[in-house]
Symmetry: none
Subunit: 185 residues, 4 copies
Amino acid sequence: MTEQARRAQIIAAAIEVVAELGYQATSFKRIAQRAGLSSTGLISYHFKGKQELVDEVFAEVLRRFTTFVLDRLDRADTAAGELRAFLSANLRFMAAHRAEAVAFLRLRPHVSEREVAEGDHRKMADLLRAGQAAGEFRDFDPDIMSIFLLALRTGVLTRAADDAAVDIELCERELLIAVELATRR
Amino acid sequence: MTEQARRAQIIAAAIEVVAELGYQATSFKRIAQRAGLSSTGLISYHFKGKQELVDEVFAEVLRRFTTFVLDRLDRADTAAGELRAFLSANLRFMAAHRAEAVAFLRLRPHVSEREVAEGDHRKMADLLRAGQAAGEFRDFDPDIMSIFLLALRTGVLTRAADDAAVDIELCERELLIAVELATRR
Amino acid sequence: MTEQARRAQIIAAAIEVVAELGYQATSFKRIAQRAGLSSTGLISYHFKGKQELVDEVFAEVLRRFTTFVLDRLDRADTAAGELRAFLSANLRFMAAHRAEAVAFLRLRPHVSEREVAEGDHRKMADLLRAGQAAGEFRDFDPDIMSIFLLALRTGVLTRAADDAAVDIELCERELLIAVELATRR
Amino acid sequence: MTEQARRAQIIAAAIEVVAELGYQATSFKRIAQRAGLSSTGLISYHFKGKQELVDEVFAEVLRRFTTFVLDRLDRADTAAGELRAFLSANLRFMAAHRAEAVAFLRLRPHVSEREVAEGDHRKMADLLRAGQAAGEFRDFDPDIMSIFLLALRTGVLTRAADDAAVDIELCERELLIAVELATRR
DNA sequence: AATGAATGAGGTTTCATTCAT
DNA sequence: AATGAATGAAACCTCATTCAT
């Protein structure tokens, strides 16, 4: 088996275990069992340590998340449209890729480089500034509003992660309305 | 020393440790050191197990949090006013009682009865419904809006917990405006 | 069992294991077996880590070694006499306390503070200087001669540790003569 | 690549690693990294096990050491002269080939056949006996004096290995004087 | 009520060695 | 001859919990 394939297999198993049992209960032993590996030594063979594994798992999830969102962003031609598309895509990711979304939320506090886990803030603030410059948004503080919008994103995802009964489509509709009201000129 | 006093002492130490080092690094050993206890056995003696300790610590923090917030809710005579007071009080709790607030955020995912950690939702939804009945709020889904508002509360607190440089008063002002816009009739 | 007694027991077991199997093969598991402990965790309970254990074991051996030697030093009234007594006592320690002596040699390279393991050099050089000042010794470089004398001490002990057939009393007589010739005025 | 060349390459890397990091930290992994090998399996392929590798590395270092010393022994025409040349050459080996000298000292305790590591003793005793027969040396026990002289050799080298600031030439001069005094008729 | 030593399971990690290719 | 992934034992260490005193 090739290095890349094995790493991918381990990462996939880790995502599942984290999503099901949470970060705390995610041990090398459980990942190895889930992946059908013969020993935990194999994980150490492919990853320098637990932190590297966590970082790579998170990076992989983030990559899929980002790709998913970006794919749904290109059609937007206004800042407000882009913001709507961003929020919609975020919620839909939970519906379409539950395990990854849950793993994303659970791993975030344990990623070694905080920057990676919070990479969205700057981009979001820039988008808001652009929308203000274009006259689409009212005159709020873009850095603070960025905190609000990402808090909404994360909070709704967390709620959906905790309670599978949450109606994500309904959340999406209501969220778009509320954000529109809170940001428009 | 009385049973109650001992438990309070242990809980106080646990709050500090959780706030400083996070849930993961919070072991009986560290709590005992912080509290100046002679043995971790003393913790096991007063609490049935780690989960009970965690639950009680969270309950205690939640009690203080709730008291703090309720104290600032009395004066409100409208639903919108109460909502504003609730949000303000929440943010101010972080400024006034940082350790408790951080412990609250860090313990929440590990509390055994989910109900406890999310007790706010029903009350918030009821408040929103009352406001809608009184014609103060527009016609959103109160359960969903409740998710949003608590997501904002938690997200802003989390951000402030991670980054002490966040200007909580500015957040408060902007948050009240945004929520007003998103909820008013 | 009291803390002190347990530590002493573990240290005693460690001395035996190191003397018999060498540093490399000295694991917590083997020490625990030798001491009749239920688990290696007990060692970690009494010593912060392996390095602390090693350091304490060495310190204990060194203490016994030093006491043994000092007890045989006080009768000397000249520097040359003290030097002879020192060398004699060193060799006799091997004969009288073989396990400690072997452990001393085997642990020395792994002690964390080099200073401790090489504490003799300064004192030896001082003794040599005193002897030169008193006209007992010829005009060698005392720091270098100190290296030679301790090299002789260590080398002979090492030889005796490796080969139990070495006649230590004969070594002692010959060593005193050789050192006398090499150092006298 | 030829078998012999590969073994030599591995041995060379092992010498460096042992000299730099000590025996304990010398793993197949580090040797492979140092040698630029693709896998630790290659080491196992060329050496039956770790012990064989250690033995061969030591044998190789010993060979170079011996050659170096023997090259400087030819000119001596008396036993005393040969002894002086031997000691000088030993100290100079450290100055000229530090890595090999340090590896020699660090590997010696781990060589499987003790005989190899202590091969010098018999030859040294023979030299001493010859010197006594020729009337150059006084009437000491040659086997014991052999222990002393090799202890001096090893001790000084060890000291120089631990502390690069030791002045080897000064040691050499002082050593020759001391040994002359201790052995001459 | 309190102590503090003891327990044993479980964690991550390193290691020499093996094996299919 | 070489590769590099795989193996499984063994290492040290931390943990919550138990228990005799």
